[in-house]
Amino acid sequence: MADAGAGSLHGGDSALSCLPEEQELSQRLRRLYPAVNQEETPLPRSWSPKDKYNYIGLSQGNLRVHYKGHGKNHKDAASVRATHPIPAACGIYYFEVKIVSKGRDGYMGIGLSAQGVNMNRLPGWDKHSYGYHGDDGHSFCSSGTGQPYGPTFTTGDVIGCCVNLINNTCFYTKNGHSLGIAFTDLPLPAMISNQFMELLQEYIQHLFKSNLYPTVGLQTPGEIVDANFGQQPFVFDIEDYMREWRAKIQGTIKRFPIGDRLGEWQAMLQNMVSSYLVHHGYCSTAAAFARITDTTIQEEQTSIKNRQRIQKLVLAGRVGEAIEATQQLYPGLLEHNPNLLFMLKCRQFVEMVNGTDSEVRCFSARSPRSQDSYPGSPNLSPRRGSNNSHVHSTGADSPTCSNGVLSTKIKQSCSKYQALSSSSSSSSSSSPSSVNYSESNSTDSTKSQQHSSTSNQETRHLAFLSFFYLSDSEMEMEAEHYPNGVLENSSTRIMNGTYKHEEILQTDESSMEDNCPQRQLCGGNHAATERMIQFGRELQTLSEQLCREYGKNTMHKKMLQDAFSLLAYSDPWNCPVGQQLDPIQREPVCAALNSAILESQNLPKQPPLMLALGQASECLRLMARVGLGSCSFARVDDYLH
C-alpha cells in the first residue's frame, strides 16, 4: 500500500518508466528546461507514430526514422513530427538528428512544423513549416524555394536545431558548430505589449500559428536518421548558449531603468520590508528596522505580539488553544469567518491525530503549558513507556502497527486492517474484509449499509468513516492524496516559509517528532483517542450545519474527508494522506488565520512584498502560457536567496 502510494505520489514522468535511459532523459530535460511545467506542456521525447506520413518507418523507441517509400520524386517526400510541440517556457529549445545513412540521394530535411502541416512534404516547403535540407544546404522558410544557408550534410553528420523562443529565431548546428540564424520570423508572439488588445491579438495569433513540433522529412530510399531529444548529451554546447541568454535577460532586468524616482523607490522598498516584518509578527526586528530607517509602523506593538502568539500556537500544532486565543482577543472574528473556523477545526482534528493539540495533549504529562491553560484537565495519562510492552505483544507480527493504545474497537479494526494490508505476504490472523466491515459497522453505523462496495480499499475506508455517520455518497472516494493540502489551492493566502518549527517549539519542552521513534495516534492515549473521535463527530456536525446555512461546500467536504481518512490507516504518518500530519501543513492555516486577523484590523491581509512576489510569479506563468520564452531565464527563485 505504502509503496503504491509512494509510486503514484511522484506522478508524471517517473511513473512512465523506470528505465535508466528514461531517467537520464527526464533528468536532462529538467535541467535544460527547468521552467517548463511538464504536466501542462510535455516536452518532445520521441517521434509520433500517429503524426507521420506512411512512407516513414519508426524504430528504436520511435527515435529512429527510416524512409520506406518509392522515392521517385518530391511527391514521395514524407515527414514525421515529434510527440509534442515545443513549449514556450523552454526559452531556448534544442534537439539533434544524426544522419545514420544518407540513402540514395540524401534528400533530408530537418526542422519544425505546426500541427496539421501536410506530412507528404519535407519540412520547410509549406506554410508554418521550416527546414534545412542536406542535399543543397539550403534553408526553407515556408516556401518551395530554398535560400543558401549552410553546408550540405550527409552520413555521419549530426545536425542540431535550436529554437530561440525569446527572439523567435532558429539556428542549426552541424557537428557541434553553430551555422548561424536560419529563420528570424518564427510564428510566436515577439514582444509583450502594454496594450491589452495588442496582447490579446498576439495571443490569438499565437494560438493559431505557434506550437511548432520538431520535424524531419526524408525522400529517398535508404535514408535513416536518429533523433536525440535529450536522451544523450548533445554535440553542440547548448547549455553555454542558454547561459548567454540567461545572462542577457538578467542583465536587462538588472539594468531596468527606475528613473529619477530614486527617493520614492527607497521609501517603497523600506515599506515593503517593514510591512513584511510586521505581517509575520517579527515585532522587535520590525521596530529596529523602523528605528533605523526612520519610518513608522502602522500596527500597534501589542497587536503584533498578539498575532505572533496565535501564530506560534498554530505552528506548534496547538490549534485548539489558538482558536481560543483568537476568540478571546478578536471576538467575533471566527464567527464571521465560518470557513476559517472550519479550516482551523479540521486542522485541530489533524493535530489531535498527531497528538499535538492541547485537547489530546492534556491527557499526557508532556506539556506543562497545556496543563496551565487547561487547569481542569484530567489526571495524567499513563506514560507511553508503560504501553510499549503492550504494543509489542499485540503487534508482534506487524511491527509498524502501533495500535496498542487504541480503544478496543479501533484496535481490533486496526489490526484487522493491518493484517489485510499485509495479507499478500503473510497473514495468519487476517479476517475477511467483510468481517472487518461488518464488525466496524456494527459499532455505530446504521446508514452505512448503502456503502457496500466492491473494492477492498473502499471498504476499509468506509469502515472507518462510518464512525461519523457519513451520509453523502460522494464520500465513497478512494483515499487520495493532495500534495499541498487543500488550502493552497483554495485561496491566495501566502505561505510563510521562513518559520522554523523547531525554533518556535523550542520553548516547549517536548516535540512529538523528536521524542518518539514510533508515533502513535493521539499520542497513544486512550482517553485522547476518545476525545478525538468525539471531536470528529462535532466537526462532522459543524460541517453539516455549515452546509445547511451556506450551501454545499466541496472544499469543506474534501478537507473533512482528508482529515478523517487518516484514521483509515494503522500508521497515519506513513499513509497516502499522511502528509497532512506534516508540521509544514500548519503554515497555510496559520497564514490564513493571520490574514483574517489583519483584515479585521483593516490592515492588508497580505504583505506587499509577498503580493509583489506572487505577481511576479504569476507574470512568469502567464508569459510561459502566451509564448514569451524569456520567462524561462528570469525565474523568481533566481532572485530569492
Partner: protein
C-alpha cells in the same frame, strides 16, 4: 631649500594661473607638516576630475614638490601616501600631464616608494605607476631599466588584491615583444600570476588573464609552460587551459571571453594545444567567430577577427569550420560598411567613432579573409562571391593606410592561389593594375606579399600575365632579385621563372637582358637553396624549344656551361643537381647548342658519372642528356654516338637496360635503339 629653488619658476607663470591654484601649491611649502598634509589632501579633492586644475598645478610646479615630499624619509607615511594619490590623479589627466610627470622622473621615485613597508603607500604608488604605464606616451622600457624592479613587483603580488590588479595591469601594458616576455617569464610570471586567475576580484582575474594573453602571444616558451611546463601549473587542481576554457563561457563578460580566447589561440599556434583539440575547435574558434558579430563593439570585432585570422592561418580544417560557423564570411562583409551613411547624418559622435575604427575594421576583415581562403578552393569561391568582394580588395590596395593595404594584398594573395579565380574574377576586376601600383615604392612587408601574389598572377594560364608584362613587370622583378630581403629575392626570381615558362623569344630576351648575366650568376651562387632552385628553374624555362636554346646558348653559352659545371661539382642537394642535369638535357636538345656539351669533356664525364649514380632521379636526368645527344635523326648524330661509345656510355646503357627501374630501363633501351638505326 626647495622653496628657494622653485621660487623663480613660480614667479614666471604667476600671471597665467588662478590664485586658487597658487594657494594649493603654496601650502605644500608650509613649515608645519600637519598643514602640508592638509594641503595635499585639499589638493587631492580639488583635482579630482578637473583637468584644468591639474594642468594649472603642474605649471605651478606642484609635481617636483610632491615628489620631494613623497621621497622624503622624514615625511609621515600618510603624507607620502597622499602625495602618491595626488600624483596618480594628475596622471589621470591628459597625455601632456603624463609627459610632465615623466619629465620630473616620477617613475624612479615611485619605484623607490615600493620598497616601503607600508601597504597603503605601496598601493598608492602602484596605482600611480599603473596610470602612467598604461599611457601611450610612456616608454615601456622604463619598467625594465632596473633588474630588481620586476622581482620586487613579483614579490608584491602577494600583498593585496590592489597590488595584484595594478601590477598585472602594468605587466600587460609593458610587455611588448619577446624580450619583455622572456624577462617576465624568467621572473616566474606564469607561476606568480596563475593563481590570480581564480581570484575573487573580477578586476584581478581580468588583469591576470590579460597578462597571460600578452605573455603567450607568439611565444612558444610561455605557451608550452602554460599547458605543461616542467612544473605543471595547477590552479585549484585544474590546468590553465581548463581555466581559460571556463572563462570562455558565453555568460562571462565579453572582454574576458575575448582575452582568454587570445590566450588559447597563442597556445594553439605555439603547438602547445593541438588544432583538433575540442577546446580549440568547439570553444575558442566559435567564441572568436561570435566576437566578429554585429552585436559586439567595433574594437572587439577588430580584435576578434585578427585573433581568429591568426588561429586558423595554417590549419585547413579550422579554416573549413570557421567558414561555416555563423555565416562568418557574410558577417565580415559588414566590416566594410563603416562609417555607414546613416551615422554621417544622424550622429556626429558616432561618425567620429566609426571613422576611427573604419581602417582597423577593414584590415581585420581582409586578414581574416586571407586566412580563411589560404587553402580551400570552395572557401575562396565563397569569399569572392560575397557582395562586392573584389571591388573592396581593389579599393583596399590603394588605401592610404599601410595596414589596410598590406591586409588587402594578403587577402588577394590568398585568393590568387585559385586557378579558377585567376581566370575569372581577377581578370574581370583587372586586379593586376592596383597590384602593380602597390609594388611601386612599397615598404618591404607589403612588397613580399604583393610580389608573391604577382607570382601567381604571372602563371602561364593567367590572363593577367600579358598586361602585367606590358606594364614593366620584368624590370620590377629583376630589381627584386637584387634585394637584401631573401623573401623578395625568392619571389622575384620565382615570378621570373613563371614568366619564362613557355614564353616567347622576346620575353626571354627581356628577362636575360633585365637580369644581366652577372646577376644570374649571383643568384646561382646564392646561399639560399630556394633562390638557387628558382634560378635553375628560370634557366630551364628559358632553355626550351630548340630555336630559343640555340639562341640563348649562342649568346650566354659559355657562362651557362660554367655555372652548370660549378653546380654539379658543388655540394648541393639532389633536387638542385637534378634540376641542373635537366638544364643540360635541354641544352642537348638544341641544334647548335649540342656542340657546347660534346666539346666539353668535363661535362661529358659528369654526365657519365651521374648515369651510374645511386639516385635514380639523377640517373634519369643524365639519361635525358644522352638520349638527346645520340638522337639519330639529327645532324651529326653519328659522330656524337661514336664519341659517346668511346667514352663507354653504351656499356652503361646496356647495364641500365637491365635495370629494375622501368623508367631507367625504357630510357636506356630507347637510347640504344638510336645506335641500331
Amino acid at each position: 631649500m626647495a622653496c628657494v629653488l622653485e621660487a623663480p619658476l613660480r614667479m614666471s607663470v604667476l600671471s597665467e594661473v588662478t590664485a586658487s591654484s597658487r594657494h594649493y601649491v603654496d601650502r605644500l611649502f608650509d613649515l608645519d607638516p600637519q598643514k602640508v598634509l592638509q594641503g595635499v589632501i585639499d589638493m587631492k579633492n580639488a583635482v579630482i576630475g578637473n583637468n584644468k586644475q591639474k594642468a594649472n598645478l603642474i605649471v605651478l610646479g606642484a609635481v617636483p614638490r610632491l615628489l620631494y615630499l613623497l621621497q622624503q624619509e622624514t615625511s609621515s607615511t600618510e603624507l607620502r601616501t597622499e602625495c602618491a594619490v595626488v600624483l596618480g590623479s594628475l596622471a589621470m589627466g591628459t597625455e601632456n600631464n603624463v609627459k610632465s610627470l615623466l619629465d620630473c622622473h616620477i617613475i624612479p621615485a615611485l619605484l623607490q616608494g615600493l620598497l616601503s613597508p607600508d601597504l597603503k603607500f605601496i598601493e598608492a604608488c602602484l596605482r600611480c605607476l599603473r596610470t602612467i604605464f598604461i599611457s601611450p606616451v610612456t616608454p615601456e622600457d622604463l619598467l625594465y631599466t632596473d633588474a630588481t624592479v620586476i622581482s620586487h613587483l613579483m614579490a608584491l603580488l602577494s600583498r593585496s588584491r590592489y597590488t595584484q590588479e595594478y601590477i598585472c595591469q602594468i605587466f600587460s601594458h609593458c610587455c611588448k615583444g619577446p624580450d619583455h616576455q622572456t624577462i617576465l617569464f624568467n621572473h616566474g610570471a606564469v607561476q606568480n600570476i596563475a593563481h590570480l586567475l581564480v581570484s575573487t576580484s573580477y578586476k584581478v582575474r581580468m588583469q591576470a588573464l590579460k597578462c597571460f594573453s600578452v605573455l603567450a602571444f607568439e611565444n612558444p616558451q610561455v605557451s608550452m609552460t602554460l599547458v605543461n611546463g616542467k612544473h605543471k601549473v595547477l590552479v585549484d587542481g585544474e590546468l590553465l587551459p581548463q581555466i581559460f576554457v571556463k572563462m570562455l563561457q558565453r555568460d562571462k563578460p565579453v572582454e574576458m571571453q575575448l582575452t582568454s580566447a587570445k590566450c588559447l589561440t597563442s597556445m594553439c599556434r605555439a603547438g602547445a594545444i593541438r588544432t583538433d583539440d575540442s577546446c580549440i575547435v568547439l570553444k575558442t574558434l566559435p567564441c572568436l567567430v561570435r566576437m566578429c558579430s554585429k552585436e559586439r563593439l567595433l574594437e572587439e570585432r577588430v580584435e576578434g577577427a585578427e585573433t581568429l585570422a591568426y588561429l586558423i592561418e595554417t590549419d585547413v580544417e579550422l579554416q573549413r569550420i570557421a567558414s561555416i560557423t555563423d555565416h562568418l564570411i557574410v558577417m565580415l562583409a559588414d566590416y566594410f560598411k563603416y562609417p555607414s551613411s546613416v551615422s554621417a547624418i544622424t550622429d556626429i559622435k558616432r561618425l567620429d567613432h566609426d571613422l576611427k575604427h573604419a581602417h582597423e575594421l577593414r584590415q581585420a576583415a581582409f586578414k581574416l579573409y586571407a586566412s580563411l581562403g589560404a587553402n580551400d578552393e570552395d572557401i575562396r569561391k565563397k569569399i569572392i562571391e560575397t557582395e562586392n568582394m573584389m571591388d573592396r580588395i581593389v579599393n583596399g590596395l590603394s588605401e592610404s593606410s599601410i595596414k589596410v593595404r598590406l591586409a588587402a594584398v594578403r587577402c588577394l594573395h590568398s585568393l590568387s592561389r585559385s586557378v579558377q579565380q585567376l581566370r575569372t574574377s581577377f581578370q574581370d576586376h583587372a586586379v593586376w593594375k592596383p597590384l602593380m601600383k602597390v609594388l611601386q615604392n612599397a615598404p618591404n612587408e607589403i612588397l613580399v606579399v604583393a610580389s608573391s601574389t604577382l607570382c601567381n598572377l604571372l602563371l602561364e594560364f593567367s590572363p593577367s600575365k600579358e598586361p602585367i608584362l606590358e606594364s614593366g613587370a620584368i624590370e620590377l622583378l629583376c630589381s627584386l632579385t637584387q634585394s637584401e630581403n631573401l623573401a623578395l629575392r625568392v619571389n622575384g626570381i620565382w615570378a621570373l621563372m613563371n614568366v619564362a615558362f613557355q614564353a616567347e623569344q622576346k620575353i626571354k630576351s627581356d628577362i636575360l637582358r633585365g637580369l644581366s648575366t652577372e646577376q644570374l650568376f649571383q643568384l646561382l651562387s646564392d646561399s639560399d637553396v630556394n633562390v638557387l632552385m628558382k634560378t635553375l628553374g628560370l634557366l630551364r624555362n628559358l632553355l626550351s624549344t630548340r630555336p630559343h636554346i640555340d639562341h640563348i646558348m649562342s649568346t650566354h653559352g659559355k657562362q651557362i656551361m660554367q655555372a652548370v659545371t660549378l653546380i654539379l661539382e658543388g655540394e648541393h642537394n639532389i633536387e638542385v643537381k637534378e634540376q641542373t642535369l635537366c638544364i643540360l638535357a635541354n641544352i642537348a636538345d638544341g641544334t647548335t647548342a649540342k656542340e657546347l656539351i660534346m666539346t666539353n669533356d668535363d661535362i661529358l664525364q659528369k654526365i657519365k658519372y651521374y648515369m651510374s649514380h645511386s639516385n635514380a632521379k639523377l640517373q634519369l636526368a643524365a639519361m635525358f642528356c644522352i638520349s638527346n645527344l645520340v638522337w639519330n635523326e639529327e645532324e651529326g648524330s653519328q659522330e656524337r654516338q661514336d664519341k659517346l661509345r668511346d667514352m663507354g656510355i653504351v656499356d652503361i646503357l646496356h647495364k641500365l637496360s637491365q635495370s629494375s627501374d622501368p623508367n631507367l630501363c625504357d630510357k636506356a633501351k630507347t637510347a640504344l635503339q638510336q645506335y641500331l638505326a
